[in-house]
């Protein structure tokens, strides 16, 4: 009964979405306020109904209602409750429902908090959101309906893929979708602006916070996915340039360029054409990502094995929205009047460089990800493009960008002082050079020759970000009291930007550490044997069986010694899940300050148990840096100046105030 209510709610949401996509557009063209305002209840209603549908599906999972085919295919009564709930979005149909839920959430947000937007703009934005909603609700109802029933109802389910029964992966899709789908807002705003024929500071002031929020969630989502791959897949790697990983990374790159480009539109009324294009590109890449993961054209442990009919549908959605937006862009973009002039060396100039390099890097990843598909479609040859391609292209494009990044915040708008900026960054440069030399000395002969430069780059970024805050607070040039006063009255956006930029530096440090100085050993061990790695001695204690809620485990225990003393112990296990009969390897990880000790067991043979040991220096910094970036975004979002969406209290007009200072 509840399932049918959920199904019906979806159909009602589709009807509302159709209304939302047509009436407001007509109203905006005619200047009819009543028609335009139909968008608001439509958007809110859509959210209510889709939320109801999502709740109905969650209820079916939580109560283990196996008469619903989706629940049967992805759940089991013995599965822990967290994964029963996570199973709602751990499959294709349910995750699409989550997708449209977040889409409706953002649409309702514009409807509710957008009172101070121009009527026509808001109407058009909601109309575009509505169109996207129509497309995806149709997709769900026609090809991916989660509410299909099974008759007769089976006694128990097929269980969720064991690889997905994991806390990190349970939260990864919601964060990722908040990011991806959040970019639909920027897209809707861009298309609406193109229809209006006007992009101004007010537009940018609206777009930036929402895009920043989407970017923040996407950063966390990608970090969660990477961290999960690291501890779950048992290979010690954290990024594989897998097409599905790239599918989330490309919107992130475009989104980063977008939040910076929107800044120029807001402050200087320039770079409008580029910002609109980036908004279209960011969401288009989200759609491309959705297509790649669900169409069956890719081989990946991450990909859903879906039938081609769905792929064709998504491709059609892609063609309509991306093609339509780009056509609209080509037609209307020249009409956008561009604003302030600026010198090449200025903050605008730096942001142009930022945009250019990020877009080019994104294009390189795009080519590497889609080239195999293209070639196979054209010639039938199956190729793979892996890490070597991306190392050769992405890194050389990003490194110059990372080098100039600390300069940007120092440069003034319109005309910046490069020499002065360089002087202010000397401290950061000194720290970076010192760090490089120290890294070279500590590493000795290990690792690639250029690896200490990576440490230097990371330190340069962190120190550069801090230097900028110190300079704004007149740290070494003014009395301490004034510096403290300036620091405490610094807008949160300033701190946010510092954290975000420093966060990238921390990520670079982590990447350099684990890539350059990782140690790995693959050996066969008998109980009692020991193996040395990175200054530790790991002793294999023995193997014992254990029982979990829906799996049975073989657990191998290990002791860790350093300088003769036992300092810790960890274990690695192989799990056999009861229902799907699938084996997974659980790794043991101990995080020290300067790196991770990582163990994963393999098969057992006469000669012993296969044991893989890694020491990954600085690897936790990768995710710590990502969290720092997200925190920076959060801090910036909490800045009062950005809270343009909050309702303003109406001020009573008083003639006496006319002469008073504002």
């Amino acid at each position: 009964m509840i399932t049918e209510i959920g199904h019906f709610a979806l159909l009602l949401a589709l009807a509302l979405a159709v209304i939302q996509s047509t009436l407001p557009l007509v109203g905006a063209a005619r200047g009819d306020p009543a028609l335009m305002r139909t968008a608001i209840p439509a958007a809110r209603g859509q959210l209510v109904f889709i939320a109801a549908a999502f709740a109905a599906l969650t209820y079916a999972y939580v109560t283990s209602d196996f008469s619903v085919e989706n629940v049967f295919e992805n759940s089991h009564s013995a599965k822990p409750m967290l994964y029963k709930v996570a199973g709602v979005w751990g499959n294709h149909e349910g995750s699409m429902l989550l997708w449209v839920l977040i889409l409706a959430l953002f649409g309702a947000a514009v409807a509710t908090f957008g009172a101070n937007l121009a009527e026509t703009l808001r109407a058009r934005v909601l109309a575009v959101q509505g169109m996207i909603g129509v497309a995806f609700l149709l997709f769900i109802i026609a090809t991916s309906n989660p509410f299909v029933r099974l008759d007769p109802a089976p006694a128990d389910g097929s269980d969720l893929n064991p690889l997905l029964q994991d806390p990190g992966l349970a939260f990864h899709p919601p964060f990722l979708y908040l990011g991806y789908v959040g970019f639909s807002m920027a897209f809707a705003f861009a298309v609406a602006a193109l229809i209006e024929g006007r992009v101004d500071a007010a537009w940018a002031r609206w777009v930036r916070p929402w895009t920043l929020a989407a970017w923040m969630f996407l950063t966390v989502g990608i970090a969660l996915g990477s961290w999960w791959a690291y501890y779950e897949l048992g290979w010690g790697g954290w990024w594989f340039w897998d097409p599905v990983e790239n599918a989330s990374f490309m919107p992130w790159l475009a989104g980063t360029a977008l939040i910076h480009s929107a800044l120029v539109v807001e402050r200087r009324d320039a770079l409008k054409v580029w910002t609109i294009l980036l908004a279209i590109i960011a969401f288009s890449l989200s759609l491309v990502g959705t297509f790649l993961v669900r169409s069956g054209v890719l081989t990946s442990v991450h990909a859903f094995a879906v039938d081609p009919a769905r792929g064709v549908f998504i491709l059609a959605i892609l063609a309509v929205f991306v093609g339509g937006a780009l056509v609209l862009y080509a037609w209307r973009a020249p009409a956008l009047r561009s604003g302030g002039l600026f010198a090449p060396v200025s903050r605008e100039g730096a942001l142009v460089v930022n945009n250019l390099l990020l877009t080019v890097a994104c294009a390189a990843v795009f080519i590497g990800t889609l080239y195999p598909l293209l070639l196979e479609a054209l010639t039938g040859a199956k190729i793979s493009v892996g890490a070597p391609f991306f190392d050769m292209t992405f890194a050389p494009i990003m490194v110059p960008l990372l080098f100039v990044m600390p300069f940007g915040p120092f440069l003034a708008w319109k005309r910046g002082d490069l020499v002065g900026t360089a002087q202010r960054l000397l401290l950061a440069l000194a720290i970076a050079v010192f760090g490089t030399i120290a890294a070279r000395a500590a590493a000795g002969a290990d690792g690639p020759l250029l690896a200490p430069l990576g440490i230097g780059l990371g330190l340069w970024l962190v120190a550069g970000a801090v230097c900028e805050i110190l300079w704004r607070a007149r740290a070494f040039t003014a009395p301490a009291g004034e510096t403290l006063r300036r620091l405490s009255s610094m807008p949160r956006a300033g701190w946010g930007a510092m954290l975000a930029h420093a966060g990238i530096g921390i990520v670079v440090l982590g990447i350099t550490g684990v890539t350059a100085w990782k140690s790995e050993k693959v050996v066969q061990m008998q109980p009692g044997e020991a193996e040395d790695i990175a200054g530790f001695t790991v002793t294999f204690a023995g193997v014992a069986p254990r029982r979990g809620p829906n799996y049975s485990e073989t657990v191998a225990g290990f002791e860790i010694h350093r300088a003769g003393e036992v300092i810790d112990a960890f274990e690695s296990s192989k799990r056999l899940y009861d229902v799907q009969r699938m084996t997974t390897t659980e790794a043991g990880i101990i995080t020290f300050y300067w790196g991770d000790l990582y163990v994963a067991i393999g098969d057992e043979s006469d000669e012993g148990l296969t044991v893989r040991l890694w020491f990954n220096p600085l690897v936790p910094l990768i995710w710590f840096g990502a969290i720092t970036m997200a925190l920076g975004g959060l801090l910036s979002l909490s800045d009062r100046r950005l809270r343009i969406g909050a309702p303003r209290r109406a001020r009573p007009a008083a003639p006496a105030d006319a002469g008073a200072p504002a």
Partner: protein, 144 residues
């Protein structure tokens, strides 16, 4: 600097960066692409030994032999022809006789394959798509 001059400077800078990036991308594509072949493809297309390729198929039942330490040998078959493969190292959890496998490495002159990576690239049905396609082409695809 006038608006027009600025635009020219910007476009030229963008063009230079794009040209450099394009060169990088094209060079990288040439150097780092790895082709995929099924065992039948290797015979029919006369794949030259020495180049880095991927092969895929099913691990032939009964062909898995464990050698010293971590070295193993097995045969990869597409139910028409089979190729012997040797590999040293740890294998992914999903590697098993009768299951799909994709291995990356070098073909030697004697018709056998030395793999340095065995890929765990399966979808939720534990069958790599390339292998499924190859089997479909042979007409021996049996989804289970």
């Amino acid at each position: 600097m006038t608006r027009k001059q600025r635009r020219i400077v910007l476009l030229s800078a963008a063009a230079v960066v794009l040209a450099l990036a394009a060169t990088l991308v094209l060079t990288a594509l040439e150097d780092s692409i790895v082709f995929f072949y099924s065992p039948t493809d290797i015979e029919e297309k006369h794949v030259a030994p020495g180049q880095r390729i991927r092969i895929g198929g099913l691990v032939e039942d009964g062909s898995l032999v464990r050698g010293d330490g971590l070295s193993i040998t097995f045969r990869v078959t597409d139910l028409d022809r089979a190729i012997p493969v040797s590999y040293t190292g740890a294998v992914p959890d999903l590697f098993r006789e009768g299951q799909g496998v994709v291995a990356e490495g070098v073909l030697d002159g004697a018709g056998s394959f030395t793999a340095d990576t065995i890929l765990a690239k399966h979808d939720e049905n534990y069958m790599p798509r390339e292998v499924a396609d190859a089997l479909k082409e042979r007409g021996v695809w049996n989804p289970q």
